[in-house]
Structures are given as C-alpha cells and as structure tokens.
C-alpha cells in the first residue's frame, strides 16, 4: 500500500506490473464475478463465478454485501476491484468537442451535461470515453449516474472492508469488449436484456450511434414479455437510421430462445445471439482495465481532484524519500563532526608537540608549514653538527674505492675526466669508448649497493649524477 503511494504502478493507465483484478457485476438476483490478471494490454481470465444473492428481495444491502463477501473469499487476495454500474442507473450522452485533450474535456463535461439533460451537476457523477477523433476535435460518449448510486456501490464494498477501485458502466464495458473481440458488425444493433433492464446499442460504421436503456428486463411476467419486445423494437426503430441496413444481435439471457423468436417475428429480421462468451458481464468489466483505461466514476463521486491524488502520492513519496535523505544526511553529519573533531584534536596534539620540542615562528601556522619549518631548521643543524659523527660522516675513501671497482679499466672502457663528490652525490664527467661500454657502466652502477644513477647518459661523452643509495655506510 505504501509502495503504491510512492511508486506509479501504471503508466498511461496501463499496469506495468502484473496485477490481480476482481471484476464484479451486481444483478438483481445474482452477482457475476471474474478474477483476471492484468499486465500492460493483456488480460488473462483466471476464473469466473455466478453467485446467487440469497433472499434478494429482502434487506438487499446486507444480502448483496454477504454475497460479495463470499465472492471475495472465493477470489482470494486481489490488487484491485472493478465493479459495474447497472444499465438502469446509467444515462449515456454523446457530445462533440472542438478539442481532444482529456483534461480540457473533463473541465467542460459537466456543463455540457447540464445543457442537455435536466440534471443538477452537483448530484451526478460522469466520465467519458473518446469515441473518435477528427482533426483537432473529438466525439465522446459520456456515462452519467446519480452520485448516490455510485456511493451506495462503494458502501457495499466498504461494508466488507474492500476498497472499490473502479466503477464502470456495464453496457459501455460490454460494447467495448465486443468491439475489442470483433464480435459486432459495422452496422448493427446489440440488445442486452438484463434481469431488470434492457440496453440497446446502435452501432453505425463501427461507432456507437446511440445507447438507450429500457427499465424492463427478462425478469417480468410472460404477459408483459410482449410489451418488452414492442418497447425494444420501438426503441431500435427510433435509434437506427432508415437508410442503413442493421443486423440485430442479442446477448444471452433467460428465455433467450422465445425472446429471439418474438423479435424475429415482430421485426422480420434474423436475430444473432452472441453466445460465444460465458459470464460476459464480469469479463467485460475485467477488460475495462484496458478498454476503458481513463474511465472511472469513483473520483467524481468523491469530488476527487486528480491533482490532489497525485499531490498526495507526491507528498507521501517525498516524505519517505526526505526521511531517508535526512537519515543519510544526519549519519553523514555525525561522521563529518567526528572526523572534524579527530582532525582538531590531532592538530592540537601536533602543535603542542612541536611547541614543546621546537622553536617555531608562529605555532598557529598550518601543520604543513610547521613541519616544513622544523625540517628546514633541522636540516641546517644536521649539516652543521652531524658530519662530525662517525655515523653521519661521508666516507669519501669508501666512495672512491667503490667507484674504482665500477670504473675498472680492465673491465670497462671508460675514462673519467672529472669527478665532484659531496655529502649527497657524485658528479662524473667522462668519455666512453662506445655505447656498449656505457651500458656496462650503467649495469655496474645498478649492481652497486652504494650508488644510484639519476639520469642515463645519452652520449659517449657523458656527465652523470650518482646519488648515494641506502646501503651507504
């Protein structure tokens, strides 16, 4: 949950990690439920169930809640829950806008609804899908419902401690699903006879022309079935264009065969039953995760501002990141403070030691300057006093002896013209017969324990500096 606040689980409405979804369609006497896995644009249906609502006519809220609880137990742990809003509780409205930006449409949608329908925008919730785009404008289909309907759906789930994540209109979800699966023809009428309502889609040139809902379903007496059929046919006639030939399609329902025959005989047209999908209601709602990505009636019901949602996530994320950063910074502050005090105490100790043992101009000078100053004074003292000791005296006789071993005329053809010796180095000027002699000279110097050649001679007439090595005694 906390991770969901910080990290986006979706990009442009598509889930970037596999998520388990429970989609629920609540009918009058039963609840259709499907568990599916959503990953990017893929939906995998895992299992479906039709759970009857016990004593559906009495104390409906508690009975539906109890059924939902059973479904929740059946579904197991899921990442998000989608619920459909029944067709009889939804009004559809098609609009045309001179722009196609989602945010811009969202801002003016309620005004558009208020202009067309006699509804108080305070009490309704609405969302829309962009049906088609043309140039800079677009056509949308909006689903509108009473806020209390949406809130009561949310409350049903809240009652069993489930947070509902998405509410989508069932009819629109079914249309989008059939469209996705290519189960409807370019010009057709789709009739969905539910228990308590009938929804009719009119599709012209593969786009929804109109959606109508009749508040009568198959859950009526046999006497009234004819009335329902005539209502359906009347609505179909009013919706469909007279110039275009429409095919009639039906979704499976109770008494489908008799209803189909009645429609066929009344309309004089063949009726095609789309029966290739079982549990179409909850499956269509499962597919709403990819077919109706931006559609959700919940935020509008809560007057939920998307900015605020993002802001909440942002603040939660920032707070945790800041907490981590502050902890790291504090840790670093403490480390730096400790290091600084170690440095300070060592500096003070060094200054104390120097002032105790040496005379320096300014004890507040930098440690480097202090050490340099005492080294300089010691160097002059060393050169003044130490050559008188056997240990520190430069033994020139030994140096000359070693040099005579290296420059032995029997072994090496080198003639030394001049040599300068002091307490740190020997400077030799000489002449070698050839480069072979020079190389041999270099080898002999290298083998010597006393001298080190500072620079290699480049010509046979050479001048080299030999510094005294460590083994010098």
């Amino acid at each position: 949950m906390i991770l969901n606040l910080i990290l986006p689980t979706e990009i442009n409405g598509l889930y970037i990690f596999k998520k388990k979804q429970l989609s629920v369609s609540i009918k009058k006497r039963e609840i259709f439920a499907t568990v599916s896995t959503v990953y990017k644009k893929d939906i995998t249906i895992e299992k479906s169930i039709i759970e009857p609502i016990v004593d559906a006519n009495e104390n409906q809220f508690d009975n539906i809640s109890a059924t939902l609880a059973r479904i929740s137990a059946w579904a197991g742990k899921v990442d998000f829950v989608t619920c459909g809003i029944q067709p009889e509780l939804t009004i559809y409205m098609q609009s045309e806008f001179p722009f196609k930006k989602h945010d811009a449409i969202e801002l003016v949608l309620k005004n558009e609804i208020a202009k067309t329908l006699p509804l108080n925008t305070e009490n309704i919730v609405a969302d829309f899908l962009i049906e088609s785009e043309s140039g800079s404008g677009c056509k949308t289909i909006s689903a509108i419902s009473q806020k209390e309907n949406v809130l009561s759906l949310i409350a049903l789930f809240k009652n069993i401690n489930i947070n509902l994540d998405k509410i989508a209109p069932e009819s629109l979800a079914i249309y989008e699903y059939l469209n996705l699966k290519n189960l409807i023809e370019d010009n057709s009428v789709v009739i969905d006879i539910d228990q308590s309502s009938t929804t009719i889609f009119c599709i012209e040139n593969k786009a929804i022309k109109s959606i109508r809902t009749i508040n009568k379903g198959h859950d009526i007496d046999d006497e009234n079935i004819n009335l329902l059929i005539s209502d359906i046919l009347f609505t179909v006639q009013s919706m469909a264009s007279t110039s275009t030939e429409f095919s009639i399609n039906m979704l499976p329902c109770k008494n489908i065969e008799s209803i189909k025959k009645l429609i066929e005989s009344e309309s004089g047209k063949n009726v095609n039953v789309i029966d290739s999908i079982s549990d179409i209601y909850s499956q269509a709602l499962a597919y709403a995760a990819i077919t109706m990505i931006d559609f959700n009636l919940i935020p509008d019901a809560y007057n939920y501002n998307k900015n605020l949602l993002t802001l909440q996530r942002f603040f939660a994320g920032t707070a945790i990141i800041l907490l981590i950063i502050i902890t790291l910074f504090l840790n670093n502050f403490i480390k730096l403070y400790r290091a600084e005090s170690v440095l300070k105490s060592n500096k003070a100790e060094l200054q104390k030691n120097i002032s105790k043992n040496f005379k320096v101009k300014n004890i507040k000078s930098s440690p480097a300057a202090l050490v340099k100053e005492i080294k300089k004074s010691l160097d002059s003292e060393i050169s003044l006093w130490m050559p008188y000791t056997d240990k520190n005296r430069t033994k020139y006789t030994k140096l000359l002896e070693e040099l005579s071993k290296i420059i032995n005329p029997k072994e090496i053809n080198i003639s030394i013209e001049e040599m300068n010796l002091n307490d740190s180095f020997v400077m030799l000027k000489g002449l070698a017969s050839d480069f072979e002699a020079l190389n041999k000279f270099e080898d002999l110097v290298e083998k010597s324990n006393i001298f080190k050649m500072q620079s290699r001679p480049q010509t046979t007439k050479f001048e080299v500096k030999l510094i005294y090595g460590l083994s010098e005694e």
Binding site: T318, N346, Y396
Partner: protein, 183 residues
C-alpha cells in the same frame, strides 16, 4: 481559511499541465538541493580524510624530527667536549701538519680559509679550501684518511680532475671544522 486549505485550493485549480510543471519544479529543486548536499558531504568527507591522513604523517615526521633533534643535541654535547679538550685547535696548522707528514707541500697549490658565522651559536664554521696539483691516488687516499681520522674535521666536498701529467690528478677539496667564537 487555513494556509493548507489555501494551498490545496490553489493546487486544485491548476490545470494538469501547470500542476505537472509545478511538481517537476519542486522535484527538481529538491533534487538540486539534495545533489548539492551530497556533493558537499562527499567533498568534505574526502577533504577531512585527506587532512587526517596528512596530520598522522606530520605526527610521524615530528616524532622522527624529535629523535633527530635529540641526536643533534647529543652530538653538540660530544663536539663541545672535543672542542673544549683542545681549545687552541686551528684548521690551517692541522692541515699543514698532515701536508708535511704526507710530503705534499710541493703539490699544495693554494689554501683559502673562510669563516662562516653561525647565527644563534657559540661556534663559527671554518672552511679551508685546498687546491692540490699532480698527486697520485694513493696520496689522495692517505690525505683523506688523515683528515677523516680527526673527530673535529670533516671533508665537505672533493673535486678530482685528470692532471696534465698522467696518471696524476688535480684535487680540490674543502675541509671544515668548528671553532669557538671566543677564540
């Protein structure tokens, strides 16, 4: 109206685009400040580590110098004793004695005495620059050994050149001693 409400109202009224812009600028600012602080910490940390390393090295050097200073003090004492044992010691007669004993008088071309005043000390440094012509290496070694045998004289530097008459050599050297300023 509380400030938080005002902020929320302000944010709610923003268009999505402006809101995203605002978020990006806040995130960028936080990232910049954090980046700056991280840079500061790492810079300061490496600086302090380096300084501590240097201080430890200086402390080790100082200990070494304290030891050397003690050695110098001891040497000063020893040398003072040696000097006080023969307060009338002079460098020129010392060299003349050696020169005579080694029969080098004919080869010594010149001698030049230089006195170097040592500040904050009771002693002067006396340098004798000697130029010797046409001697052989045995004579040179004998001369150097004689000088090196004396605890209060040392050879500062030597210059050896091939003489015109081979296999002889020409030698230039500086020998040094300390002499009390009171003498």
């Amino acid at each position: 109206m509380m400030i938080s409400d005002k902020i929320l109202n302000f944010l709610a009224k923003l268009s999505r685009k402006d809101f995203i812009r605002l978020l990006i600028s806040i995130v960028s600012t936080v990232a910049l400040i954090s980046g700056g602080l991280i840079y500061y910490f790492y810079y300061k940390k490496s600086y302090l580590a380096n300084e501590i390393k240097k201080i430890y090295a200086f402390k080790a050097d100082t200990q070494k110098y304290i030891f050397i200073k003690k050695e110098i003090e001891e040497q000063k004492e020893n040398l003072s004793k040696i000097i006080s044992e023969d307060p009338k010691f002079k460098l020129v007669p010392f060299f003349e004695n050696i020169q005579n004993s080694l029969r080098l008088s004919g080869s010594v071309e010149s001698t030049n005495l230089k006195i170097n005043n040592i500040a904050n000390s009771d002693y002067n440094e006396i340098n004798l620059e000697i130029s010797i012509k046409n001697i052989n290496t045995k004579q040179l070694v004998d001369l150097m050994t004689s000088i090196e045998d004396s605890p209060r004289v040392y050879i500062k530097n030597i210059n050896i050149k091939k003489a015109n008459k081979l296999p002889a050599i020409d030698v230039g050297m500086t020998i040094t001693t300390l002499q009390s300023k009171s003498d």
